[in-house]
Symmetry: C2
Subunit: 211 residues, 2 copies
C-alpha cells in the first residue's frame, strides 16, 4: 500500500469523520459498525483504528467539528460589542432574534451541521461514555441563558420590555422555546410541520416580548 504523507493522512481522517456522520445519520450510532464507516470512507477498519481509539472517540470528534465553532458564533452574534465603548447599533431584541434566525439558517444551509444535530438529537443514546455529553449540554445551558439575560437586561434598561417582565425569566423562556424549536425542527425532516414556519415562530416569539 502506498504510504501517505502527513497531509494525506489528515485528509483520510476527515473523510472518516464525514463518513461516520453520514452513516450515523442513516443507521443510528449504535447500529453503525466501524466497517460500514470505513467502507463508506473508502478505507478499511485499519485506517479507522489508526486515527481513532474506537467508535466513541470518533463520535466525539465528529461532534466537536460542529459544536466547537457554534460557541464562537454565539459569542460573536449575541454579545457583539457588549463591552465596547459605544453601545450596540442594533437593538437588543433584534440581536437575539438575529442569532436565532441565523442558527436556523445555518441548519438549512449547512448539511454537516444539520446531520450532526440530527444525530445528537435522535440517533444516539446518552448512556455510559456518552452520558457526559448530556452534562456538557446542560452546563452550556446556563451559559447561554446568562447571555440571553444580559441582553434582555439591556432591553429592559432601554424600556423595550413590559415593565413586569423579568429578564432572567425571559432568558430561560427563550432558551426553552429555542430548545424545543431545534428539537422539532430537526425531527421534522420533511419540513411540513416546523421547518416552513420556523422563521415566523422566532419573529413571533420576540414580538411577544416588545412593549
Amino acid at each position: 500500500m502506498v504510504r501517505k504523507t502527513k497531509e494525506d493522512a489528515e485528509i483520510t481522517r476527515k473523510r472518516i469523520i464525514n463518513a461516520a456522520r453520514e452513516v450515523f445519520c442513516i443507521k443510528g450510532v449504535s447500529r453503525t459498525s466501524l466497517d460500514q464507516i470505513a467502507t463508506h470512507a473508502g478505507v478499511t477498519r485499519g485506517a479507522v483504528y489508526w486515527h481513532f481509539k474506537n467508535k466513541t472517540e470518533l463520535f466525539h470528534a465528529m461532534r466537536e467539528q460542529v459544536f466547537l465553532p457554534l460557541i464562537d458564533r454565539m459569542d460573536d452574534t449575541l454579545l457583539a460589542n457588549i463591552d465596547s465603548s459605544k453601545p450596540s447599533t442594533t437593538d437588543p431584541l433584534t440581536r437575539i432574534e438575529d442569532f436565532l434566525q441565523e442558527t436556523i439558517q445555518v441548519l438549512n444551509e449547512h448539511l454537516e451541521t444539520r446531520q450532526t444535530y440530527e444525530i445528537m438529537m435522535s440517533k444516539c443514546e446518552y448512556v455510559d461514555e456518552f452520558a457526559t455529553v448530556l452534562q456538557q449540554i446542560l452546563s452550556n445551558c446556563s451559559g447561554i441563558a446568562e447571555k440571553y439575560e444580559t441582553i434582555y437586561q439591556e432591553a429592559k434598561n432601554l424600556g423595550l420590555l413590559h415593565p413586569n417582565h423579568d429578564p432572567k425569566q425571559l432568558a430561560v423562556d427563550t432558551h426553552l422555546f429555542f430548545t424545543g424549536l431545534l428539537h422539532l425542527w430537526v425531527k421534522d425532516s420533511d419540513g411540513t410541520h416546523f421547518r416552513i414556519q420556523a422563521s415566523q415562530l422566532i419573529s413571533a416569539h420576540i414580538k411577544f416580548r416588545r412593549k
Copy 2:
C-alpha cells in the same frame, strides 16, 4: 416448569415490560440484550420471545403503557367542558398552566413515566423501525398545538391577552416552550438546572401572556 395460569402469564408480561424499561433506562435500548431484560425480570429469553416478537415490539409496548394514558389526560385537563353548555369555571390561561404543571408533577411522582420519557428522549435511536415513532410525535404536535390554540382563542375572547397577540402563534410558542422544558427537565437528572425551577418557569411563561 410450573405451567402458569392466564393471569400469571399477564403478570409475567408486565414484569418483562417493567424490566425492559428499567434496563433500557440504564443501558440504553440498543445496548440492552433480551437476556438482560429476561434476567432482570426473573425469567429467561424464552418468556420474552413468547410474549413479544422481538425487542422492537417490546419497546413499543413499553412506550404505549405511558403514552396512551397521556393523550386521555391531556383532553381531560385541557379541554374540560369545552363544548359543554356552560363555559369552563377556571380561566383559560390557568387551564393551560394547570396542564403543564400537572405534567411536570406526573413526571416527579411517577417513576415509570419519568423513565419512559428519559428513554424516549435520550436513550433510544430513531432509525429504521423506530423512525415511525418520530412521525407519530410530530403528528401529535399539530393536535396539541390546536388544543392550545382553542384555549388561547377563548382567552382572547375574554380579553385576557394582549390585543396584538395571535392565539395560533401563542399556541405553538407554548408548545415549543414546553417541549424544550420537558427535554431539559428529563436530562437534568440531578435536578440542579431545570427541575428545581420548572414550576416557576411555567408560571412565568403564562404570566408573559396576560395583559
